[in-house]
Amino acid sequence: VTRAWRGAAIAAVIAIVIIALTPYVWMLLTSFKGRLDALADRPVWMFDPTLEHYGDVLIDKKYLPLVWNSLFVAVGTTILSLAIGVPAAYVFARARFAGKEDLFFFFLTTRMAPAISVVVPMYLLFNKLGLLETRIVVVLAHSTFNLSLVVWMMRGFFAEIPPQMDEAAQLDGHTRAGAFVRVLLPLAAPGIAATAVLCFILSWNEFLYAFILASFESRTLTVGIPGLVTPHGTLWGQVAAVAVVATLPILLFTAVVQRHLVRGLTFGAVKG
């Protein structure tokens, strides 16, 4: 009986992997296909690969600057969220004060806030302030979800560091702030790195805020790609090529932070 179970389980796993990967692989293949292969009536799996779409779309259609915009926004929001969120997380992990859990819940609700509801007033407010269409606005908008991600994840990481470490550092003559910077931050470094990667991914992948708030020049990759889809005669090779550029680095990053994904995506509810 056990061998039969095992055989069935392995067959199921193979099926799961095929289903999970085939659509992405199909897009990857499409990015290397000539026009005729991409538009064939019958799906083409073997073909002479070409790199022309990458050059066409990144250089000729000037999509390369969008990569820079995405990088700017993702790095910007990551730094901002960490700089502000890590100290706050430390306080949430160590301090005791009335209403702490409620305040913490407030951070959660901001992470959950529906983008479509937040972006409407944001658009009007930034419009009045004359800030609309800059990359800075998108950086700020992305901190709506990244700041609370940082606070939630880092609280967990700080909580895992024994409080004796704080005490020892203070006995060594550090002030509270000094102990935080010189002792706690280095101890939490792996957690900070994992959190940073997750922040980067969430911002890099985000669409709605960037779509509404950025201008044509400051638009990010995710906003730029759908622009290549037209009702008539979409060049799918080019769409696929930019999509690969937008996704492949993220998939590599994912492998790095996989251990921390569960915690990051469940607000620390499940440790993983």
Binding site: I16, P23, M27, P121, L147, N205, I225, T254, V262
Partner: protein, 306 residues
Amino acid sequence: MAPSRSRRASALILDRGIGPLFVTPALVLLVLVVVGPFFYTIALSFTDLSYALPDRDGSFVGFDNYRRLVRSDPVFWDSFTTTLWFVVASVAIEMVLGLAAALILAGLLARGRFVLTLVLVPMMLAPVTVGLIGKLMLQGEFGMLTYYLRELGLMGQQTAMLGDPKLALAAVVLLDIWQWTPFVTLVMLAGILSLPRGPFEAAIMDGAGRLRILWDITLPLLRPIIALVLLLRSIDAFKEFDKVFILTGGGPGTATELLSIYTYRVNFRDWDLGYGAVCAFMVYLVVLVLCSVFYKAMSRRDRSEP
């Protein structure tokens, strides 16, 4: 013993100066980017502001917009129903498939982790690219999936999923399942691997079969995690925008117009901002309710843990 413990407890309370210093910047930023806009939305919802009609300059109109929502906007309620169908169908299927996959992977132990990395691909892709992949595969003329569905006789030779109102919603659900089942698997697997071994060993000693162990031990022990994943997925599915916006744009007609897409249309196509604020507020309200359920579920779990 007692004095030293209380000394430790007091050492844990941060110096008076540092706590507020560390938390305030985060609070200020959140007030600026979330709380401010939230109250601005509520204020807007009582005005007639429109960027399309110059005579509607944002004067106070009382509850007019709310009255319009309740009495004379069937499209809003249609999109509300569509959203509910979308949430229920995709989340239910994701839960079942994701849990099944997690149970299978947990049985493979060490190799399960490696397989998991591959399976996670769909949920790490930008939702926009997920939408584009769906569009590429479901194209009427040369879509890969369209071709195989027709060949297998599962779909008529002239049928294109994205062009048919009923099938378009199914396509949207299908794509969401493809993207988010890995999330359910990931969290469930973490949950399964963290379960205590004792009950399982006892059951095996008693000679219980696999299905019996699954039904009587694994699932009851997993219940809190199942509830958490269910809530998190429901909240996210309710907010869904990117994929569907790219895949169908809400069409054909309004067949796949989710609440978020309708809200987008009212605000940024019709520029009917006063009424659009009411729609945005409704989405907010539902998510807030789901959130507080999530919070209650979580604090109950924390209390039950030693």
